[in-house]
Symmetry: C2
Subunit: 135 residues, 2 copies
């Protein structure tokens, strides 16, 4: 599939780094990762390419209310998200959804689906316990 009209080293590196990791990084985390191989890349370029890749369905943008995160695996799959630190992990369960027929979709043309479980990750659970025992 064609992304943009010209290839760019920056875009290739960003996609490569994102695919090489399972951590669902934020734009600035990805920026730091790519910077190790291309020190002059700018944060704006990272944002522009992530947006471009996501809009073409090559990657997945995980919108969170805080910093958005990105997933190199664009196949629909459920996530686990920490409401405290924002960390996102893949969740290996099966989710069966009734097909959304025309009547139920209310005229929307559906292009994607997000399924996420929210909660506290182990690290944040520990942090909160520490806080409480301080008294």
């Amino acid at each position: 599939m064609k992304i943009g009209q010209r290839r760019s080293k920056q875009r290739e590196l960003i996609l490569e780094e994102l695919r090489g990791v399972t951590s669902h990084p934020t734009a600035d985390e990805l920026y730091e990762m790519v910077r190790k191989r291309m020190p002059n890349i700018s944060l704006g370029t990272v944002y522009r390419n992530l947006e471009l890749l996501a809009s073409h369905g090559v990657i997945l943008k995980i919108e969170t209310g805080g910093k958005n995160r990105f997933d190199g695996n664009s196949k629909i799959h459920p996530h686990l998200r920490c409401t405290n630190c924002g960390k996102v992990e893949d969740l290996d369960i099966e989710v069966k959804t009734e097909p959304v027929d025309e009547e139920k979709s209310r005229g929307f043309s559906i292009t994607g689906c997000n399924i996420e479980y929210l909660g506290l990750c182990p690290d944040c659970i520990n942090l909160m316990q520490d806080k409480q025992t301080v008294h």
Copy 2:
């Protein structure tokens, strides 16, 4: 259930307005709604109370990457969200998920679940068609 330590007219009005509507309003839309009945309320107060109500599970916060939206119905249910204008509607389908056992939850303590279908709403589909026929 007890929200905060004292009741406030502002909080009651916000909850009342949100519950009286099925449109999943943003914080500033809710601000305008409440302002008709209490002109001196501030946007900051609306944000503070929405956050408080959501954290107590009284309402639902729909995080979108753009403006967040709120739902007076806190029961878990799927949504339809327009990726262009941000509009959110309820989606009346059934979603069956395999229970998330301890092994699969990776140590997370799960407190909620978001299920949303993404796409273009009828209005935005029309807007895009208009754009294209302009040539």
